[in-house]
Assembly symmetry: C2
Homo-oligomer: 338 residues x 2
DNA sequence: TTGTACGCGTTATCAC
DNA sequence: GTGATAACGCGTACAA
């Protein structure tokens, strides 16, 4: 009998040592139901003894599919990306899947081709696409073309359930603004996200919904558009705070912009929340660490990512996973009663 | 001639269509130098025509190594992890390598075994280990045992060059504290990181160096230990600000703790930087967004991660990459002259 | 400079 | 239930 000189034991070693064919070993590994219990135990003993671990490359070759799932994102914010990674990992832990990440540049003219080359080269099992780039239908098309399954996350239901995990941003924002109304605010400013972003549109709709429910007429003078950056929030804050009468509260479509509004308020000598209440969206690390700590809306990111990963790797189990998630309002210290 | 029914073209298809053996195609792919130019062009034309992409699983099997590099981390902070991912990606872009991520829990008793199982199962080409978990020598040992190459990032040179990319935290902190001295501060408090962390020790040494250079005697009363969290920084700030005379400046060993110190100061009615100057370390997102924006020290994370990845995949090229990086002091608004 | 034959470690087919 | 044997797609001796 030939002795393996180097490295790891293979299925052949296990077969030889346990006196069965390698197909039988394969059956043990893959938990085939038609298998003599005694044989199984014998083989399992040898596997444990040898410390045998199946080679995923060989498996991938034979099965014509690998066990890598990809995460494609355009760095919406670090906290979110990491949360998603944790969520995916919680779904694939204890499985043979691994997570490969691929940041892309939304503005690059070669973005589409980059992704295509990546998918073509790595032959991933499937990919999960994060917002904001998930709003780009091109990517889904590329995936379909290449035969890699995909699931995208987003701020509204864009696709059929098996392809989509969504948060209901519209409803979440409506609740947040209603919360301000409940605290007595009537003149509530709004800082929108950039045009072209679905999340921005959804959040704006939620704002409108809440005002309508409270029978408050929207005033364009206290609405401004930002691009999800701190600086744009700062500029929007300056604009809104210059209006008369001044808003008693401002909802910003993300935390960065809310922080910008906060700075603008401080520069004008206003106290938060005494003179101005502020609510943000996302619950990034910033929200908890600025002063005062920001009341904000939090996506259940990990749970969403987990659900998305399960959809990808286990469609049967995915039936029990929700596709639409509602965000929570995180109450901190940036809101006062009027 | 058999026609491939499904899916992607293989090396055999290319060989058949270009009228050469598959070995020749293989030579073209791997840029073998001994190859007739005409043959090469002919084959390349067919490759382009077919849109042929080599199957990485088959390659991995034949070569007995795959093209995945792993990132093992314990989520030091989201910004850093993402920066590292970007850095690695910039090194592997245009190569056949892909990045697989693996967050681990430093406190889990099974951490070591988790990592081992991961490495054993995925048979990675190599791994890159981030602080703080990179300070754990066990992981390097596991890698050696399993024959996966590794490089770790850290706050001081712990290993031979081929295994290490380090920032010189000691020197960086010394510079930051010297900067405070240069602004006229003599009574400078220090918030240390948790015991057992190499980075904490290095930063403490840097603080000591700077004081010694300025002939200032260290005063234990204005030194406290935190555990790199906001809350611990807050507690440390309360302690230091209760001393008499009160420090005119505080250096905190990371930004989270610096933010905590800032809150503590504010609660005592102190203005920053008028009454107290603060310097942090890391330049996380928080640093730029708190009020006032925090002067802090920034690791060149992306460059470091890029160098680490190059060490992993291309030892020859790695000779031209630095192994020791010096951090920059980012001046913002949290420091005043005394 | 190019081709033949075989191995890499696994799964699938189809007999027994 | 189990086992030969042939894929899977590529790289490497070794020969030509």
């Amino acid at each position: 009998m030939k002795i393996k000189r180097d490295g790891k034991p293979t299925i052949n070693d296990v077969a030889r040592l346990s006196g069965v064919s390698k197909k039988t070993v394969s059956r043990v590994i893959n938990r085939s139901p038609l298998l003599n219990e005694a044989t199984r135990e014998k083989v399992e003993a040898v596997i444990a003894d040898l410390g045998y671990v199946p080679n995923p490359q060989a498996r991938a070759l034979a099965l014509r599919r690998n066990f890598l799932i990809g995460l494609i994102h355009d760095n919406p914010n670090a906290q979110m990306v990491l949360g998603v990674q944790e969520g995916i990992l919680s779904a694939i832990r204890e499985t043979e899947f691994a997570l490969v990440v691929r940041p892309v540049n939304r503005r690059s003219p070669t973005m589409r081709e980059d992704v295509r080359a990546f998918l073509e080269q790595q032959r991933l099992y499937g990919v999960l696409i994060l917002p904001p780039i998930s709003e780009n239908d091109d990517l889904a098309a590329v995936c379909d073309e290449l035969g890699v399954s995909w699931v995208r996350m987003g701020s509204a239901q864009l696709d059929a359930e098996e392809h989509m995990v969504a948060s209901n941003d519209r409803e979440a924002v409506a609740k947040a603004v209603a919360y301000l109304v409940g605290r007595g605010h009537r003149r509530i400013g709004f800082v929108a996200g950039p045009e072209g972003f679905r999340s921005a549109a959804e959040r704006a709709l939620g704002y409108g919904d809440a005002l309508a429910s409270a029978a408050i007429t929207a005033d364009p003078a206290i609405m401004a558009e930002g691009n999800y950056t701190f600086e744009s929030g700062h500029a929007a804050g300056e604009k809104l705070l210059a209006t008369t009468p001044r808003p008693s509260a401002i909802f910003a479509s993300n935390d960065e912009m809310a922080a910008g509004v906060l700075h603008a308020a401080r520069e004008q000598g206003l106290s938060v929340p005494e003179d101005l209440s502020i609510v943000g969206f996302d619950d990034t690390a910033i929200a908890a660490h600025i002063w005062p700590p920001l009341t904000t809306v939090r996506w259940p990111i990990q749970a969403m990512a987990r659900a998305a990963a399960i959809k990808l790797i286990d469609p049967a189990k995915a039936r029990h996973e929700p596709s639409l998630f509602l965000s929570d309002l995180i109450e901190r210290a940036s809101v006062n009663d009027v």
